[in-house]
Symmetry: C2
Subunit: 658 residues, 2 copies
C-alpha cells in the first residue's frame, strides 16, 4: 500500500480548492418551526388548502375527513358492478370469520356479525383506502380474550366481560383517533417490519393452539395462551378428547387448505377459497342437523338472536373497577390493529398507485371503533386475508364494504337461525386455515439472509409471544429494535479511506481493496452523527486509529512519518456540544503529537455548530476542505513545499471539566 509514485493522483494545487460554506443563518424560530413541520407534517397535508377561498377550504376540509365526498360524485355503474361482486365475496368470508373470531375473543358469536355491519359503513365514509375490507382480526380477538380474561372470567361473568370488551374497543378507538389528530402516526413505525413478521407468526401460532380446544372438543381449557400451559392442559385431559369433532375438524381443515392451494395456483379462481369458509359452515351445519352430532359431543353455536346491533353506549363500563384493564387492553390492541390496518391499506394502495395518508387512516379507524363500541361491536381493523380477497375480487372503492355490510345486515335480520347447528369445530378449522397464512416463513428466511439483527428481533417477538405472552413478545421486540438504533449512534463505524486509482475519489479501503493509502496522511470517515452518546468512544477510537497507523508505518519502515489526519465529515449528519468538545480534545491530542487535523466536507448542520462554537477559528479555515481529494491535495502540497502544520496547543481547564 501507499507506494510512492501513486501518491499524487490529484496533481491539483491548493489554490483551486473550494471554500466550505457556512450555511446562511436561519432565525431560531424559523428552523424550529420547520423541524416541527418535518416531524409532524412530513406529508404537508395543508398544501391543497393554500390560497383557496373559504368555501373551497370548507369543502376540502370535509373531503379530508370524509373522502367519500371526494370520490362519491365520480362513482359510476361499472365501479358498482365490481364492488357488488367483491362485496358479496368478502361477506361470505366475513360471516363465518366474524363468528369464529368472536368465539376466539370469548364473546357471543353474534358480535362477530355486528362488527361486520356498522364499522364497515363508517370506514366507507371516512377511509381513504379503496381495497381495505373492514372486520375483526384474530390477533386482536385473542389479545382481548387473554388480557381481559386475566381479570374477568368470561364464562362466569359474561355481562361484565362483554361491557369491558366494549370499553376496551372504545379506548382503542380513542387512541387511534388521537394518534391521527395529533399527527403521531409515526409511533406505528416503531413496530418494525421484522417485529411484525415475528409477532404475527407468534400470534398465529398461539391462535392455532387455542383452536385445539375446538378440534378436540374439550370442555375445559387453560386461560393461558403460552405453548407450555396449552400443552399441559391438553395432555392432562386426554380422556376427554372427542374423535367425532377431531375427524370433522381435520376433514374441513383439509378441504379449506386444498381450496386455498387451488386458488393460489389459479388466481382467477380466487372465489373458490373465498367461498370455502361459508361452504364448510353450510356443509357442517347440514351434517350436524342430519346426524344430530350435537348430541355426540360435537359442540354447536346454538341460538343466535335475530336483529341488528343493539345500542351499547350505556354498557361502556367507565365506572367499573376493571377500567384500567379495559384501557390497557384497548391501547395495546388498538396499536396492533392500527399497525396491521395501516400496513395492509398502504400495500394495496401501492399496487394501484394511489396515496394513503396514515394519520387520516388512523382517524378513520378510530372513529369506526368508537362508533363500533357504541353499537355492540368489538375491535375491528383491516384484516390482511379479507382485504386480499377484496382486492382479488376486483373491488374499485370502499363501496364493497357497504355491500358487505348490507349482506351482513340481511343475515342478521333473517338468516341467523341457520347458524344454530353450525359446529364449533368448523369455525376452528376456518381460523386455523386463516392463521396458517399469517406464518410467513419466507419473510423470516429473507430476514435471516439479509439482516441477522432483524432476524433476531423477529425471533424475539415470536418466542416471546409463543412462550411468554403477546405483550412480552411485543415489548421484547420493540426494545431490541430501539437498542439497535441507540447502538448505531453509540458505536458509529469509522473507516480508513484510500484513493481509488486514477481518480480524485477516496473510499473505504475495506469496501474497495484497490484503494491506496496516501503516505503521511491518515484519512478517517465517521459514519454517524456525533452526539454525547458516542463522543468519548470516537475520541478513543480516533486516537487508536492514529496509534495503529503510526505503528504500521514504523513496522513497514516507511520513510515518511504521519503528518496529517483528515476526518471526512460527509456522513456526520449532526453534532451536539459534547461532540464539539470531543473535537477540541482530539485537536489538542493531535497537535500534541505534532500532527495536523484536517476536516473534509462538513455538512451544513456541522459547519453551523463549529462556527458558533468558534472551533473553526481554532482549527483554522485553511484546514477545512470541500472534498477529501482537495484536502489530500493541500496536504501533499504543504508536505512538499515543506510548510509544517501549525500546532497550537493552548489548554483551558474550564470547558473540558464537566
Amino acid at each position: 500500500m501507499g507506494n510512492a509514485d501513486l501518491v499524487y493522483p490529484s496533481s491539483m494545487n491548493v489554490e483551486c480548492a473550494h471554500q466550505v460554506a457556512i450555511p446562511p443563518p436561519v432565525p431560531f424560530f424559523k428552523s424550529f418551526a420547520s423541524n416541527l413541520k418535518e416531524t409532524f407534517f412530513p406529508d404537508d397535508p395543508l398544501r391543497p388548502f393554500k390560497n383557496q377561498p373559504l368555501s373551497k377550504k370548507l369543502i376540502l376540509g370535509l373531503q379530508y375527513f370524509f373522502p367519500i365526498l371526494e370520490w362519491g360524485p365520480r362513482y359510476t355503474l361499472q365501479f358498482f358492478k365490481a364492488d357488488l361482486i367483491s362485496g358479496i365475496t368478502i361477506a361470505s368470508l366475513a360471516i363465518p370469520q366474524g363468528i369464529s373470531y368472536a368465539k376466539l375473543a370469548n364473546l357471543p358469536p353474534i358480535l362477530g356479525l355486528y362488527s361486520s355491519f356498522i364499522p364497515p359503513l363508517v370506514y366507507a365514509m371516512m377511509g381513504s383506502s379503496r381495497d381495505l375490507a373492514v372486520g375483526t382480526v384474530a390477533v386482536a380477538s385473542l389479545l382481548t380474550a387473554s388480557m381481559l380474561g386475566n381479570e374477568v372470567n368470561a364464562s362466569e361473568n359474561p355481562k361484565l366481560y362483554l361491557h369491558l370488551a366494549f370499553t376496551a374497543t372504545f379506548f382503542a378507538g380513542v387512541l387511534q383517533a388521537a394518534l391521527g389528530f395529533l399527527r403521531l402516526g409515526f409511533i406505528v413505525d416503531f413496530l418494525s417490519h421484522s417485529t411484525i413478521v415475528g409477532f404475527m407468526a407468534g400470534a398465529a401460532t398461539v391462535v392455532i393452539l387455542q383452536q385445539l380446544k375446538g378440534i378436540l372438543g374439550l370442555e375445559h381449557f387453560t386461560r393461558g395462551t403460552d405453548l407450555v400451559s396449552v400443552m399441559r392442559s391438553i395432555f392432562s385431559q386426554t380422556h376427554e378428547w372427542r374423535w367425532e369433532s377431531g375427524v370433522l375438524g381435520c376433514v374441513f381443515l383439509f378441504f379449506l387448505m386444498v381450496t386455498k392451494y387451488f386458488s393460489k395456483k389459479r388466481p382467477k379462481f380466487f372465489w373458490v377459497s373465498a367461498m370455502a369458509p361459508l361452504t364448510s359452515v353450510i356443509l357442517g351445519s347440514i351434517l350436524v342437523y342430519l346426524t344430530h352430532a350435537e348430541k355426540h359431543g360435537v359442540q354447536v353455536i346454538g341460538d343466535l338472536k335475530k336483529g341488528l346491533n343493539p345500542i351499547s353506549v350505556t354498557d361502556l363500563a367507565f365506572g367499573s373497577k376493571y377500567l384500567m384493564t379495559a384501557i390497557k387492553t384497548g391501547l395495546i390492541t388498538g396499536i396492533i390493529a392500527l399497525a396491521e390496518g395501516i400496513a395492509v391499506g398502504r400495500s394495496f394502495a401501492m399496487f394501484k398507485n394511489y396515496h394513503i395518508d396514515g394519520n387520516k387512516e388512523m382517524i378513520a379507524f378510530g372513529m369506526m371503533n368508537i362508533a363500533g363500541s357504541c353499537t355492540s361491536c368489538y375491535l375491528t381493523t383491516g384484516p390482511f386475508s379479507r382485504s386480499a380477497v377484496n382486492f382479488n375480487a376486483g373491488c374499485k372503492t370502499a363501496v364493497s364494504n357497504i355491500v358487505m355490510a348490507i349482506a351482513v345486515m340481511i343475515t342478521l335480520l333473517f338468516l341467523t337461525p341457520l347458524f344454530h347447528y353450525t359446529p364449533l369445530v368448523v369455525l376452528s378449522s376456518i381460523i386455523i386455515a386463516a392463521m396458517l397464512g399469517l406464518i410467513d416463513y419466507d419473510a423470516a428466511i429473507h430476514l435471516f439472509q439479509v439482516d441477522k439483527f432483524d432476524f433476531i428481533v423477529c425471533m424475539a417477538a415470536y418466542v416471546g409471544v409463543v412462550f411468554g405472552s403477546v405483550e412480552i413478545g411485543l415489548v421484547l421486540a420493540v426494545a431490541l429494535s430501539m437498542l439497535r438504533v441507540l447502538l448505531f449512534v453509540a458505536r458509529p463505524r469509522t473507516f480508513v479511506l484510500g484513493n481509488i486509482p486514477n481518480s480524485m475519489i477516496y473510499r473505504n479501503v475495506n469496501q474497495y481493496p484497490n484503494a491506496m493509502s496516501v503516505p503521511g496522511v491518515l484519512i478517517l470517515q465517521i459514519d454517524a452523527p456525533i452526539y454525547f452518546a458516542n463522543s468519548s468512544y470516537l475520541r478513543e477510537r480516533i486516537s487508536r486509529w492514529i496509534n495503529e497507523e503510526e505503528e504500521k508505518l514504523k513496522s513497514q519502515g516507511e520513510m515518511m512519518s504521519l503528518q496529517y489526519v483528515i476526518l471526512d465529515m460527509g456522513a456526520v449528519g449532526s453534532i451536539d456540544t459534547s461532540g464539539i468538545s470531543m473535537f477540541e480534545e482530539v485537536k489538542k491530542n493531535i497537535d500534541r503529537r505534532g500532527l495536523t487535523l484536517v476536516l473534509a466536507n462538513p455538512g451544513s448542520e456541522v459547519m453551523k455548530k463549529l462556527d458558533k462554537s468558534k472551533f473553526i477559528d481554532d482549527i483554522g479555515q485553511e484546514w477545512i476542505y470541500l472534498t477529501v481529494g482537495e484536502a489530500v491535495g493541500a496536504c501533499n502540497f504543504k508536505l512538499h513545499t515543506g510548510k509544517p502544520g501549525h500546532a497550537t496547543a493552548e489548554l483551558e481547564a474550564k470547558d473540558n471539566i464537566v
Copy 2:
C-alpha cells in the same frame, strides 16, 4: 437555477465511471465478533498482552489492576517532594470539607474523616489517574441524605440510618466495579455534557439551600430538598433565626470568596484558597472557644471520637427491610459519583497527555467504595475542586493521595478534640463557597449559543433538580437526550444537491447557494441510517421532493421534464430490511412515474444489504455510481443519446405486506 449552458460541468462520458464495489463477504461470526469488540473493547485493552510469555502476561495483568506496580518502580525523590506538598495541601482542604459533607449527608462528622483515609489508599494502588484527589462529594452526600431520609429519619434512628448509608456505599461500589468488569463504561456517556452541567448546577443550588439551616442556625428543617419546601420551612420560622450565626456565616463566606478570587487571579498563590477552609475552621473554633458562642445559639460540632476507622462489615444491613432503598440509593449515587470522577480524571489526564482507561477507573472506584463501606466510610469519588487543587499544587502521582491519607490518619489519632468548638456555620460557609464554583453560567450560555436543544436538556436537568428532586432532574434530562437521538433517526434530513460551478462536486443547495441544479435530474441526499423508524417517513418525503420538483419545473415552464432521481447514499451509514423494502417501494413508485432511480456512493454496509436482498439486480448495477458526479454524467449522457431509463414494475404482494 439550472440554466442550460451550466448543465455539463462534468463533460465526462459514462465509460470512465467506476464500479461500486460490494465489500468482500465476511463470515457472520467474524463480523459479529468484531462488532462485539467495538462495542465493549473499543480501546483494545488486551493489545499489550499479545504474544507475550505467560510470566509477562501475569505481570501485565497485575499491573492492569494495580497501576502502582507499573509506575511505583520508576518513582523518584523529586516526585515525592511534589506529592508531599500537594498531599498536605489537599489534606488541609479534605478535613473541613469531609466534616461538612458528612453533616450534609446527616452522618456523624467523623465519617468525613474516615472517608478521607481508607479510600484514597485503595485508589492510590488501583487508580490510573495521577491528579485525582479522592474524597466525598456534596452532591452524592445530599442524594444519600434525601433518598435515605425519605425512609429513615437520621435524627430519630441514627444507627439504622448509618448502617443503610454503609450498605448504599457498598452497592454503589459493586455497581461501579461491575460496570468496569463488564466493560459497560459507555453507560456513563449517556449522561451528556449538557445534562451534567445542568445537573451539577441544580445540585449545587439545592446544597446551598440546605446550608441556610446552618447559616440561620435553625433547629428544625424540612427533609425536602426542593426550593419550595425549603423556602416554606425557612420563612415559617423566622422567629428562630439567630443573628449570631448569620453574621459569623456571612463573614467566613466573604473570607472564602475573597481568597478564592485572589488565587484565581494569581494561580501561583493557589495555596491561599486551598488553606482558607482550614484557616476559617481554626479561626472559627478559636472565636467560639473564647466567646463561648456555643451558649448563644452558635451550634458546634461537639465531640469527635479519637481513633481510626472502625470495621463496619457487620453493619451492612442486608437483612433490613429498607434494603431496596439502600440499593436504589447506592445505584443512583454510584452512577453520579462515577460520572464526576471519570470526567475529572479524564480532563486532567488530557492536560498532561496521558491515557485513562474508563473501565479500569470504574473498577478502582468500585473497589475503593466496597473497601470503604467495610471500614466506616461512605461514598467517595474524585471531586473536581479537590483534584484541581491537587493539580495546581503540582502533584506528580497518586502518592499525593497517600500523603493526604496519612495526614488525615494523624488527625484522627491525635487532633480530633480540636474540632470540638468548630461552629457548624463555618462548615456551611465552606460548602456554599465550594458549591458556588459548580454553577457554571458560562457553560450554560455556551450551550444556548451553540445548541438550543442541549440548552433545553441542561435547563430541564436544572429545573428538575431544583423544583422536583435530584432523580427527577436526572431522568428528565436523560430521557430528553435519548429522545433527541431517536428523533434524529426517526426524522432524517434530506437535501437537494446542486453542482458547485466549475467542479464535479455536488453539495446541499441550502449550504451552497451558488450550487446549480441539473435540469431533468433531481439529486437527493439522505442524512441518516435508513431504519424501520424512518423508512416510511423517507418514502413520503422522497415522493414529496419529486412532486415539488415536478411542480417547480412546470411552473418555470422548463423545456426538460424530470427524468432521473439520484439518491446520494454517502451519508447512509446503515440500512435494515424495512429500509430495503422502502427502497423497493420508492423504486416502484419512481418507475410508475416513468422516472429512473439512480444510487450514488452507497457505503459498504448498504451495498452488502442491497446485494443480499437482490435489490441491486432490481435497480440494475448500471444505475449505481461511485459519486454523484459520475451518476449525473451518466444521466446526461443517456439523456442526450436519448437512451430512456428502463422502468420495470413487477408487483409482488408478499414482501410488501407487513
